[in-house]
Symmetry: C2
């Protein structure tokens, strides 16, 4: 007897951004696994067990969910945003590749969601309207010089840059170093957006510039978008400005 | 009197991937604007007018929707996937910046959605599990040498690459040229995914390699993901293989 594993993207956190597929997977599950604060977003249901775990335990959490599914249960593993973007889907694949052979036969479904950069971008206009990239600033899993090379390449290549995992108590200096690095390539006026908890009660979205960007304004839940030299700000009377990157690049 | 404009992301196309916020915005609208096939996905409602337009008329469509909203209507402008990713949100911002002053006072809301690369990635595992970028191959709006430089930078920098707008009848050779360009940097074995119409009746997702990638397998609705040198394929007995990019990069 074999169960199934659903890796479910919760989106940015508001119920209005949770897809029907995600809601259905959560409701049908026998067991829910996830980082505690994500589990807390899902209403309790009789007969459904809940298995919270701490942050930074992705590998162990994925393995526990796979083990439970292999025992025949229908398991949902929660992920913030989209599971495929610096989240649980890769952790599950890593465990399937290295773990119990039986896990390769499991029915695994990834349920995509609205990842943070899309939610933050939507709040301010269309900063990701042209070619862009997503870089995790966490150097827990890769050397910092790799991060620096990617920041250099992305900024000099004209990509808008979304920065995931910008800062944490264990990684206090990386975001400041990243801003310094990006200032080598981009003017101080480059539009820069700090966004956190979009759609939730504690939402905070700030439009600033690369020159004025302050790492202390970010926390673990913040997603940062640094524009390209093409990114523009439209002032609006009585409204917040719009930030967007035009679809066109003129011939040089 | 001033109305409002909602730029609504329809996601990859299945009802299960349409967010409640998007559904609400569509239902509350007085008028719907969009590319014909996107409009056809939304059920008709009495009292709601429908304004289909052709593909490649994004600027004119955005202006028409803004004009209608400025007349006092509640207007929804439809976008495939997420409006902020190579879609209608940037077109709307461009029109607001260059158009009628009154458009700057309009209440504009972007409703994010699941963009194609997230939907395709979810179907095969977690190919976007590490740093990645999104590049539009359309050279209608930017010179081809800019596309080439970005492909070079992304592939040599270790980014997984999502290719949007890979091919059309007016742009028949660009995807083949892009694959040739990427083969300069990446081994022929690099996992490559073709995905179209995820969640719809005509869904087709194929896992191949960069060496075997055939541009003729793609059409306008296809999203292509080209892995990095770290991207892996896990074979599974009786199931489709999983494609993923590990979260870790070892020190070099």
């Amino acid at each position: 007897m074999s169960g199934s594993l659903f890796v479910v993207g919760l989106g940015p956190g508001s119920p209005g951004a949770l897809t029907p597929d995600a809601t259905a997977a959560l409701q049908a599950a026998d067991a829910l696994y996830g980082y505690g604060p994500y589990l807390a977003r899902v209403a309790e249901r009789p007969g459904q067990t809940r298995h919270p775990s701490d942050n930074r335990e992705e590998g162990a959490r994925a393995a526990a969910a796979l083990r439970h599914a292999a025992d025949g249960a229908r398991v949902a593993l929660l992920s913030g945003g989209d599971p495929g973007v610096f989240a649980m889907a890769a952790a599950v694949c890593e465990q399937i590749e290295s773990g119990d052979d039986a896990w390769r036969s499991l029915d695994v479904t990834i349920v995509p969601g609205v990842t943070a950069m899309l939610a933050v971008a939507a709040r301010v206009g269309a900063p990701l309207g042209h070619d862009f990239c997503a870089i995790s600033l966490s150097d827990n899993l890769k050397p910092w010089d790799v991060v620096e090379r990617r920041l250099d390449g992305a900024a000099s290549g004209g990509f808008v840059i979304a920065l995931y995992n910008p800062i944490s108590s264990a990684r206090p200096w990386q975001l400041g170093a990243a801003f310094e690095r990006l200032r080598r390539h981009l003017p101080a006026s480059t539009p820069t957006v700090f966004g956190r908890a979009v759609g939730r009660a504690d939402e905070k979205v700030v439009v600033t510039s690369l020159g004025a960007a302050d790492p202390a304004s970010a926390d673990m839940a913040t997603l940062i978008i640094v524009g390209s030299t093409f990114t523009r700000v439209i002032e609006r009377p009585g409204l917040t400005p719009l930030v967007y990157t035009p679809r066109s690049v003129a011939s040089s």
